[in-house]
Every structure is written in C-alpha cells, then in structure tokens.
Symmetry: C2
Subunit: 398 residues, 2 copies
C-alpha cells in the first residue's frame, strides 16, 4: 500500500530552539509562545514572515491552565503571519512530535514549502489545573476515577520491570543522576542551577508512588520550543546547516487506559514506531550517535533503551549502570537533561527534543556536545506509553 515515501523529497530542519524552562512567571502565555518562536527563528540565517506557509501549535492544556482555546489563531497573531495551513495539535505529552509529523506531511504533499511548529505549556502558576490536565490524559471513565494516574501507572511498570528483569532501585536513580548531570550543563534546563545530584539524594527522596520517588518523576514546567521545517531542496536558502528528517514513525495502542495494553514493560507500539523510522532512514539502532527519549519517569527511559533497540530486552537497567547512556558513554541519551531535569512543559517537549538533537548534530551543544554526532533520534510518548512518535535526524542528506 502507498507510495514509497522514503524516496520522495526530503524535509529539513532549518531552525530550532527552546525557551528557558522552569517557573516562567515573568511572561504571559502569549509572550512565552512568541519567545519560543523567536528562539527558533534566531537559529535561521534569514527568513521572512511570508516564507512561513504552515503554522502548527502543540499545546496540551491551555483551556485548563490559562483559560484560552483556539491558540492556533493566537499564534498567528503573535507571529504576525497568515499561513495557508494552521493547526493546533493535542496528543497529550506527544503533541509536539505529532505536530512535526503533520507539518512534515504537508511539506511532502506540496501544499506548503516551509512551516513553523511552536509548542508550549504554562503550568506552574496553576498547579491544580495542571494536575487536572495530567490526570485526564489516561482513561477517566474507567481508570483515573479509580486512582490510576500517570504516577501510579508508571509505578506499576517499574515494579513489574523489577520483577521480570531484576531492574534495581539504584538503576532507576542512576537515570536521574545522569539527567541532572546533563541539565547542569544546559542553561535552559529547569534544574540547571541545582547542579549535579548524588545517587544517595536520588535514592532517598520522598516517595511519590512506590517505587517511584520524587527524583524518578519529571516536574511541572513552564516552557516553549519551536522548530522550522522546509523542503530539502530549498533548505540552504535558510541555513548553511540544515538537519535532515531521515525517518519518522508513529504508532498507537488501541487503548487509552493501562488495562488493555499488551504489556506495560515491553512497549509494542514504541517498537513499531521505531521500526518505521529506522526503515525509512535506513539506519540501525547502533548507528544512532545521540538520542532524546521520553523520560517522564526514570523507568520509562530504561524501557526505552530496550524497545528502541539500544540494548537487549531486560538489560535497560544494566545499560544505565554501565554508563552507556551517559554523556561519555557509547550512546548518550537525554543530553539536554531530559524531561526529568530539563523539565516537561507538555506541549513543548517533543519539539524541545528535536531542538536538542538539532544542536547536537550542528555541533552547537556546548558543554554537553557529543563528539562527531551525525545521526540522532528523538522519541516522544503519551498516555501509559500508548502512543509513540520517533524521528531520526541527520546532518547529512540521504
């Protein structure tokens, strides 16, 4: 079925940036939106408003936290542009990568040449509604109402992964230690100023949902990120350093809740999305030089090592313990600090991942630069790992 999309014209990232993440009580929602777009635009050599034919806004819960809907139109206003396609995408924590996938398809279709994708969330000023926003992502009618939230759901996954594969409390905490260490090298990260944390601190933090403690959980964050995509053959008009979207994959479980998915410790939808992306890019997991994966909880990053094919099933705990995913390891993961320590402003997260990999592949990641990074991967999920999007980026065209 279908045309061979891998052979049609490529799409390039010509700009990407993120705002400072954290408590951003210094800006309004619309100011944060504009700031995110400006950060991406600043990384492009030259671009005119009329060049931007597509506008995608990734936002999870503005209706709840800032009492504003129709933020796609708000974005057109703040950017002062009148694009040919405008869409606000909500796919919970994977809104950003889903928006990129839609923009990528629109460019490949010939409808538009160039698009900006802006993602953001403003949550910390309104913790009650931010928590509500998170608690209504899983199946409210059948599960949330009975107490299964993201926290308790991922705690079940952690407990079961420990039971099945012998993953340890220490291995979970090592993910947090690594990601805080990376965030200490990233000035945009929410916990940048906290600096490195010790294993003891991570292991002894107060319990949130057993076995997940405070340092196993990503925080509530304000922040924005944006990415500018264009047709490969005109990318050089915008930048000398285009980054190529070589692969894109997406898959979903036919289940909103946790009770109907095949496995909570082996994410079949992630394996399927990754397979699509690897095949389209014609690369193997061992070709990946750097990755940003969805570490909403430490256990998630460990399962992702496995289901993205970085290490064998059941050995994710050993992978972090051996230091493979550290900045000086064989496959650095979440060099930005990840959701855990860079922060997790829901609508921005998928775009922030792409911005980090773009920096890495351009050799602009500063203190956290991975030597000679040529091929990078981003992985963004939503729900109880029921929805996944994987992108493979390269600084070389096909």
């Amino acid at each position: 079925m279908g045309k061979d999309i891998s052979m049609s014209s490529d799409v390039a990232i010509v700009g990407a940036g993120i705002t400072k993440f954290g408590k951003r009580h210094d800006v309004t929602y619309r100011e944060l939106l504009a700031e995110a777009a400006a950060e991406a635009i600043a990384t492009v050599d030259e671009i005119r408003p009329s060049d931007i034919e597509g506008l995608y806004v990734s936002a999870s819960m503005p209706e709840l936290t800032v009492d504003q809907a129709h933020v796609g139109n708000l974005a057109a206003q703040e950017l002062g542009i009148t694009p040919k396609i405008v869409s606000r995408i909500e796919m919970a924590c994977s809104s950003g990568s889903t928006a990129v996938r839609n923009a990528w398809a629109a460019i490949k279709s010939g409808l538009i040449d160039t698009a900006i994708i802006v993602g953001l969330e403003k949550m910390t000023h309104n913790p009650q509604m931010a928590n509500k926003g998170l608690c209504i992502v899983p199946d409210v009618e059948y599960e949330s109402i009975n107490g299964i939230t993201a926290y308790s759901g991922f705690a079940l996954a952690a407990r079961k992964h420990m039971q099945e594969y012998g993953t340890t409390r220490e291995q979970l905490s090592l993910v947090a230690v690594k990601n805080h260490s990376n965030a200490a090298k990233n000035e945009k990260a929410q916990f940048h100023s906290m600096g490195e944390i010790t294993l003891e601190k991570a292991m002894n933090a107060r319990m949130v949902s057993d076995p997940l403690n405070l340092f196993d959980c990503s925080p509530i964050t304000d922040g924005g990120a944006a990415v500018i995509l264009t047709r490969g053959d005109i990318a050089k008009e915008f930048t000398d350093q285009p980054i190529w979207i070589r692969g894109s994959g997406q898959s979903i479980e036919p289940s909103l809740g946790i009770s109907n998915i095949r496995s909570i410790t082996e994410w079949h939808a992630l394996k399927k999305a990754a397979k699509q992306a690897y095949e389209m890019a014609n690369v193997k997991p061992s070709d990946i030089d750097v990755a940003e994966t969805h570490d909403c909880f430490t256990i998630a990053e460990i399962i992702e090592y496995e289901d993205l094919g970085f290490t064998k099933k059941g050995t994710g705990g050993k992978f972090i313990e051996d230091g493979e995913s550290r900045l000086d390891g064989s496959l650095p993961v979440n060099t930005s600090g990840g959701l855990k320590a860079k922060g997790h402003p829901i609508g921005a997260t998928g775009l922030a991942q792409i911005a980090e990999i773009t920096s890495q592949l351009r050799g602009q990641a500063g203190k956290r630069q991975v030597d000679d990074a040529k091929i990078g991967l981003t992985h963004n999920l939503a729900g109880f790992a029921t929805h996944h999007v994987v992108h493979i980026l390269s600084n070389e065209a096909r």
Copy 2:
C-alpha cells in the same frame, strides 16, 4: 513557491455520515465518537480496520465538558485501529475542516492512503462548561474579559452590516426561516421535530445580543460526524460513488480578537481561503450547485454569500430575500439546516458540512436533494471570522 499541488493525485471522499444531533444524553462521549465513525463506515461498500492508516479527531472542548484529554488515543481504542498517523485537532469551530485538510495533505504526501476523520462534541449535559468553552475561543486576556463574546461580537458585525449595506432585521430572520425549513427535512437535525418556523416567530424571539435574537443564534448541541478519505486512484475499491476534493483553501487573520481585524463585515481571510479553493478546483462561484456555509449566526450566512462570491458585496440580504439560497433557489445554502437548525456540536460541524455535500453530490439527500448537484462547497470558520477553511467537492474527477 511550492509544487503545483493541483496537478498531483486527487483525494476522494469514500464515506461520510453524521449522528443524530441534539441532546444526546443517551450516549457517553466515547459512544458518540464510535457512532459517528460507524455512520461514515456504513456509507462505504467495504473497508477493513487495517485499511485505515490515518486517524484524525476533531474536538474542541472535551477537557472542559467531559473531563477527558488525549481523545485521539480514545478514538483509536473505540475504533480498534492502530493507524500510522493519529492527531487530535483543535481549531475551535473550524476544527473539523482543518482536520480534513491535514488528512488530505497526509494522503497527498504518500504517507498514508486512507484516513478517517471523526469530529464530535458533547455539550448539552454541561452547559456551564460548554459556555466556558465558547467564551475562551476569542481573546480572553484582552476581549472576553471585557464582555466581548461570540454573541456580542457577531452582533457588532450585524449592526455594522445593517448600517453599511441596509441589511434588515427581516433578512436576518429569513436565514433562520430557511434553515429551519431545511432542518424539517433532515431527520438528523437538532430542530427537525420543531418543523418550519414563521418569519414572525423568528423576528420576535427574545433578544440575546442586540440585534441578534434567539433565532439568529446556533444552539448548543451534542453530535458527531465522520468522513473517510482515500487516494483517488484506489477510491473505487471502497465505493462506486467517490466524491472528489477538487479544492481546499485555508486562511487566518493575524488576530485572535475582534479589535484587530481589518473588517468585521468583509471577511478578507474568507475571500483568501475561497480564492485558493476556487483556483485549485478551477471553478467559479457561479459553478457551485449547493453549499454548506458557517451560519453560527444568521448575519454570518449573509456575509458569507458575499465573501464566497455568490452575490456582490452588500447584497447578501437581498440574496436571501430573493430566495436565491432556498432549497428551490439558484444556489441552495445549508440544505442540512445549517448550524442554526441542524445544530452546532463544535468539533463535528466541519465534517457534518462535508457529509451533507457528499449526500447531495451522491443524490442521496432525500427530501432536501438539490436537482442535478455536481459541484458543492463547504465553508467552516472559527473565532470572530478570523479563521476560514473552504472545500470544493465534485462528483466528477478533474
């Protein structure tokens, strides 16, 4: 800029349907979603779950009215499918047509062959949150907070159109009379059982926002609609009666609020979206046999006659007065009953319009069938007419 999209492969509608609109306290949100999808699937000769590679959900306010986010994943669950691209689109009242435009682009890109777009809203059980959902579509920080809602904003447009062009109270009410008359012929319409209404009844209804009275305003509605799209060259595998998307246009004002748009009585963004669609389809307004336009308020339909090019600027009032847009007129508009009398479940509206035109072009519109309808138009807007999507459909391939 861009490839000539009009020359690339066409996209066909192979299925489309709507649920009964009105107060649907008999079903839950997810049941309504499944019902909408089933209505569209029932109009396809044969389709397998694995054929559906794209899933788009158009929903405006489930976070507010039914406390559920991530409804894209909910839809995958209810339909029991695992598509390659899944997106929930929110663009307020034009979410449905925007979702169609994204699916259309994804098919044209070669990413997918076939997509289902499901739209719905469940509002009547929770009028407080439904009203909140509507009131946060315009610019909350600068306008809604000062009392400008959709009602008062469109009332300003009506007042000014009256002043500029001599449009009358009676002409506004004639739109309502026409649309209720059409709804009386549409069993799915919210006000089907109300039957026809008299001009006196429409003119003397209680005031909502002067000069707009109750019969100038579309209602709060529960309902769903769905459309199935596929690549033109395989459309006959699904149906003997494909309907072709010949043109698609979208435009947006760089303004969320009413105070910064160029004109509230001449909708430049609509004219731009319509121009794109007409040019892509290579048809003129006079070629249109039947149209569904966005009559959220009676004044909107009058302005749309003008800015879609059905009649000269300022003569929209005369157009309805002369009966041109009646079922027996030269260009029947809102044969379904429109938003006014069929109902306006926000996320479903853009898809319900396409379902109506699909029925018309297939010759299946029953008592409201327009003779020999070959080319139809849909127009869906959001905000203070700041965002518009226009589609041109035909029962003949290019």
